[in-house]
Symmetry: C2
Subunit: 472 residues, 2 copies
């Protein structure tokens, strides 16, 4: 949806006001600049904004929001644009607020194991900065080399390490937020426990930029674990690979990553990154990647051996231990680039299902059956340890768009399956534009009404990232 | 505040309707029954309800709420009544809904390391039930032998193990909730990661029974750690004990408990539980209790020795290792019964301050200065590892009541200090009735307005635990 020319002109009336706030150099209306903000990593969606603003401070954002709120100008907050649900797309036109200039790590607080950062810092840059002090910020989405920490907060991102260390929400202690009316609040305090009023911090995390614009983030850190081991295990049967996952936890092990990659995804990504590190055999249906970390190498070895023994019951093939940092890096590169590779291979539609981990074999079985039923090719991969299975589908001649009648019935059936298994439709990507039609599969009307009510409370004029998660 | 006789009679008009819902045997109006629900573990507060109802199911609660909501009858949800902020007190009269009959553990899901429970289960009963399966539910408030898990969810409780394992909010995956209008919702899904809409689950946790009545709780579990070690360390200087705390974490250790007890609290509790396990010397100002847990005994020993070495720099006295289960139990009994002992010794007013842990020495110093300034005797103890310091005060002739002019200025000064150190006024007890006057020290008006708006959204008639956390 692009806005009418008349409305666009109205937005342009405020250009000089915006320029007064940030300086001329940081307000953009030229085609090339706008184009960059019209898409993210979501399949086939393109919505041009009218104006892009790159503020430097919460105070500048506050001033911008006062104008936009007073004049009903749609605002879309934007991190690095690596999102997979269209959350940062300006589908109603108006103003995009880009956080790219708010990219300072403000304080690494070694005494309290905390970091205070602006939202425009690249996640991996933040991780490396705290690692230099021996500290650890675990959440590591595949896009960590390019995504912003602010976007991670907006989407409540995960990544491989979530299985042991939790997701972004488990690290956010406090947030500075500009509300849609321009008010600036802190949501909590810089403390590890807090029973002081409603948890506005956790309400903000994962709210996909619909309730406020996060301008400072206080994160909990951990000591960096000294060692890690990585093992790759092929399985003859995809469902047995899924079943092996919950057996590992039931036996008392707590891997720092437990990833699953189906064989056809592996073939595609092996070619894509030009790697032969993983032997690909046609007898194999899937691989698990298992990482252990901790401060005692000998214990990791003992535990990994015990896990290996346990996996034999699940019809696995020959185990492969990554011997050195280079092999580990190569294995992780393959895993991290899987989504990109299979997307380029035509599997453009990615789903982000999550179920209780013991339901993984049922989910996999159901997904395969649905693929046949709806005539889609399907690949699965993802964070099996926490039941978060990414499913990518393709069909000859089917180009993705919102509400594509070829796709909607298949996704509805998929999400009904996920719901019946105790799961939900997004584990770490968010709802954004692409999943909002399916929210009512997960939430009954009273729950949806509460969410709409919260949105209305924070944003009575419905200007901030309006139409994401749900319509209101 | 007790209600007028006329209003009380109005409430009584609905007695037969309530009896139709639960059966006659579970609706109470006799004086003895009502008296039991007029107080909790908070200092000196007493408010009689008009009616006590003990329902068995969410459906019964839904039916009760429809009547109360339609007729503006105040409702106060009630767990075991062990709260320390007056959250379960019916200060507006009306109906108390007691969860004591909703006390079944519904399912221990070993495949997914989850438990589904009703809210009226005693926390320790739940912990023991999952422990029998080798599983671990860590949050362990001092009252765990009598408090209900539902109350723990309402208050976002902590306990000693929070320092390593987090608080209740870190374990709640999904909740069944009866809303004030009688609607029944599930807030999320039974999954470890969830980016599907606003986090209603986390909004409910710690909302002190003001937004809905939790009727089923899905908790994440961990494998139970096989070993633990316990050490007691005396310090000549209270502030140095506080400083030692953050040094332990900075050195990369992650104790499963790190508690502080000031010497005068220790003297009182030693006498109270008739124990001489801790030698009490007048040269000592405080003790730290340090617990490590894990699956490898030899590593725990190595780490505990390293911690002991590190503590020498902080002017500590002779270390005491608990040799066996009995000694450990005795040390923990002393710690767990400290609050009760010092309360009986006249320190009736307990505060629940929390700061970033490195600010602990500054907090302790400031608390002592405020005690002298406001002429209060002060004892400190608590969960030093996560910066959560309980402070109890007494003054000759000062009997606590809400808004006592002797107490209010001292608490205001204390909370302003806590705020200036980056902390907040409640780490694990909640705000309830006793802290609500101080909420505006922590939150500016826009934040308070959001909280009031959320309350109004969930409970437009303001009938559910109204006047807790804030007035609205």
């Amino acid at each position: 949806m692009t806005v009418l020319a008349e409305e666009k002109n109205t937005f342009y009336n405020y250009l000089s006001a915006f320029r007064n706030i940030t300086g001329d150099a940081f307000v953009f209306t030229d085609e090339e600049s706008l184009d960059k903000f019209a898409h993210d990593e979501t399949e086939n969606l393109y919505f041009l904004p009218d104006i892009v603003i790159k503020p430097r401070t919460a105070q500048e954002i506050s001033a911008i929001m006062k104008i936009c709120n007073g004049n009903r100008i749609p605002v879309t907050p934007r991190g690095a644009g690596t999102g997979l649900s269209g959350g940062a797309l300006p589908h109603k036109g108006g103003v995009v607020i880009s956080f790219e200039r708010m990219n300072s790590i403000l304080e690494i607080d070694e005494g309290n194991l905390q970091v205070i950062t602006e939202p425009g810092v690249i996640t991996e840059v933040l991780q490396n900065a705290v690692k230099e002090k021996g500290l650890f910020y675990p959440p590591d989405p595949s896009s960590r080399g390019s995504c912003f920490i602010g976007g991670n907060v907006a989407e409540n991102s995960g990544g491989p390490k979530a299985v042991k260390y939790g997701v972004v929400k488990d690290y956010v202690l406090n947030l500075e937020v500009v509300l849609p009316n321009g008010d600036i609040i802190w949501t909590g305090a810089n403390v590890l426990k807090n029973s002081t009023g409603y948890n506005l911090t956790q309400l903000m995390v994962g709210s996909e930029g619909t309730l406020g614009l996060v301008t400072k983030i206080v994160l909990k850190l951990l000591p960096f674990p000294k060692y890690d081991l990585l093992m790759l295990v092929p399985f003859n049967d995809l469902q047995k690979a899924g079943a092996a996952v919950s057996a590992i936890f039931r036996a008392g092990f707590m891997p720092s990553a437990l990833e699953l990659v189906e064989i056809n995804a592996l073939k595609i990504v092996s070619k894509f990154v030009d790697s032969t590190i993983v032997p690909v055999s046609d007898e194999m249906e899937a691989h698990l990647i298992i990482e252990l970390d901790g401060n005692h190498q000998e214990i990791l070895l003992t535990e990994m051996e015990a896990i290996a023994g346990l996996l034999e019951e699940f019809d696995c093939g020959e185990l492969f231990f990554a011997d050195d940092a280079q092999q580990k890096a190569e294995l992780w590169k393959m895993r991290r680039r899987t989504a990109e590779a299979v997307k380029l291979a035509g599997y453009t539609i990615e789903e982000d299902t999550v179920v209780p981990r013991a339901a993984l074999p049922d989910l996999i079985k159901g997904v395969k059956a649905l693929g046949i039923q709806h005539d889609f090719e399907v690949v699965c991969y993802g964070h099996a340890g926490d039941g978060n299975l990414h499913i990518r589908i393709k069909k000859e001649g089917c180009i993705y768009s919102l509400n594509n009648p070829d796709v909607v019935p298949a996704l509805k059936a998929l999400f009904q399956l996920v719901k019946s298994l105790g799961g939900t439709i997004s584990g770490e990507h968010g709802i954004g534009l692409v999943q909002k039609e399916y929210m009512n599969i997960i939430f009954d009307e009273p729950g949806m009404q509460l969410m709409r009510g919260i949105k209305k409370l924070f944003d009575p004029n419905n200007i901030l990232n309006s139409g994401k998660i749900f319509d209101c």
